[in-house]
Amino acid sequence: MDTVVCIKQVPHPDHFSQITLDPVTKAIRREGVPLVMNPVDRHAIEAALQLRDKFPGKVTVLTMGPPQSREALEEALAMGADEGVLLCDRAFAGADAYATALTIAAAIRKFCPFSLILCGCETADSGTRMVGPMLAEFLDVPYATNVRAMKVMDKGICLVEADMEGGCMKVELGLPALITVNRAVNEPRIPDVMGIIGVADKLLSTYGANDLGLPAEKLGLTGSPTRVAGVWEFKKDRRSEVLKGNPKNASSDAVARLREWGGL
């Protein structure tokens, strides 16, 4: 069973305070901020590797991004993925979720035969949770998001448990399909030394806009129907107030005050 895992390189969450935004495009400026693989993407890779143990096939990791995104792919290869695909072209720059999903879909259609596509349920930087579902739509396959548990059955069926607000939904998907996973799905492995040494022998292909056969107006910023109109920082103010009286009344007051302040 061949699996494609879509990953992304994002600014290191420990260094978010160093991130600045381009005042014109409102895009994230990555310069000087250490980059890491999007944390939940590790869980998607782990899920693919565990599936490969039961259903032999190829695990391909794919990312779209600048040349340094290669590092995230190499890390995935060190974890045990078989091949890497880097979609890298200046024409891809500034893509929103729609243009990103369209580009990745074109690449998967052309270069990556699959039974299953796995993604992290969200990225640590933009966190739209949209690329996975859009990708499924473009590839015309069923999908489930925010999956906490999954099991592939022998008959080309995948059973998943997807987290929802206040509950959990059990879904049966016919393969090929796309699944976005959350952190509860597994504990990702740490690359071992032989995995690290083995990266050099694995295939890591790079494709640009010309390789995908998509018209230029569908790519990058030009192909993005959404624009970030404004970005601002949350101002975090602390307010304190001592509520006097007996504990019962004070707790009722506290709840009322929190409601009033929008905290509940």
């Binding site: 890390e75 060190a78 740490i190 690359p191 071992d192 030394v193 032989m194 690290i196 040494i197 990266v199």
Partner: protein, 377 residues
Amino acid sequence: MDYGFSKEQEMLKKAARQFAETKVAPRVLEIDDKGDFPFDLVRQMGQMGLIGLVNSKQYGGSGMGHLSRMVVIEEMARVYPSLGFFFQAGNLLMYALENFGTEEQKKRYIPDLCKGAKVSSFAVTEQSGGSDPSAMMTTASRNGAGYVVNGRKSYITNADVADVLGFVAKSEGGFSALFVEKGTPGYEVTRREPRPGFRSIPVNELSFTDCHVSQANLIGQEGRGMAAALPTISAIGRTGAAGVALGATQGAYEGALKFCKERVLYGKPISDLQALQFMLVDMNTDIEAARWISYRPAVLMDQGKSVKDLGVDIARAKYLAVDVALRNCLKAQQAMGAYGQSPEYRVEMYLRDMLELLTAGGTQEIMKVVIGRAITN
């Protein structure tokens, strides 16, 4: 800063840090408090290939080399110095067997030691001290197809948990390097030394009483044991001590830096106060200096330079890195005031552990003797 790491070494550093932060960090207080040897972590490190970095692939290692080992020790010690210290002693016999042992010995012992399925130790020091190994009293007398060993060894790291123990004893023609397996009649670990630091790594006294050791357990040539032991202590023990010192100092520094940025005094973080900034700058600069000096012999060994020719570089690395560690772990504790003495902040652990490095792999004074001889010759 670029130390000339290869892409593999960059990834190794990241993987080691990930292991240390996710598997080790949450358990440090518990493990250190109990003082039990962390077998499960050692096995996990072995399965990841972190223990056999200087052993070759044919014997179950990876051959990634000394700089890689230094980086891994540093990453472990940054979070938990005891775990870094495991490598300081745990790699000694592995190196000695690979470089001076027979093919049979290499095949039989090194793979399990690389995997962390077995643990080893190496014993030279005796009650007379470790600075003058030629004064040792332990003897290995010829007896048929082997030796009868009698004597005692002191301050031997990992001995209590070792499945196999290398040692040096007086023999015909000088000194010989040998090894015994756990359970060999006449070989006994007699005591665990009470120590202020590296609480989960045992340091033991052991004895040999008419202990029969087979000729097959001779490492290298009879009477040439020091030719195997001394380069091993230098290439593995002293560089290991430097690596532990670097990692622990980095951990203490990061702890102090975080504390100073968060601790508010006079309405602003104390990191804004120049007195504290100067302390942090001293720590930061010392670590960088010690790191460069410590990486140098590791890089040169990886390039094929002989350990014998690097004795002074290695002594300098151990001397400076440990000196920097003691100075700066104390400084970190000072910067944190009373919090620095609380186990929860871990800086007191780093300081306790660094005291142990004063003697590990040779005292600071012996390092100076090695360097002194070279510069005054």
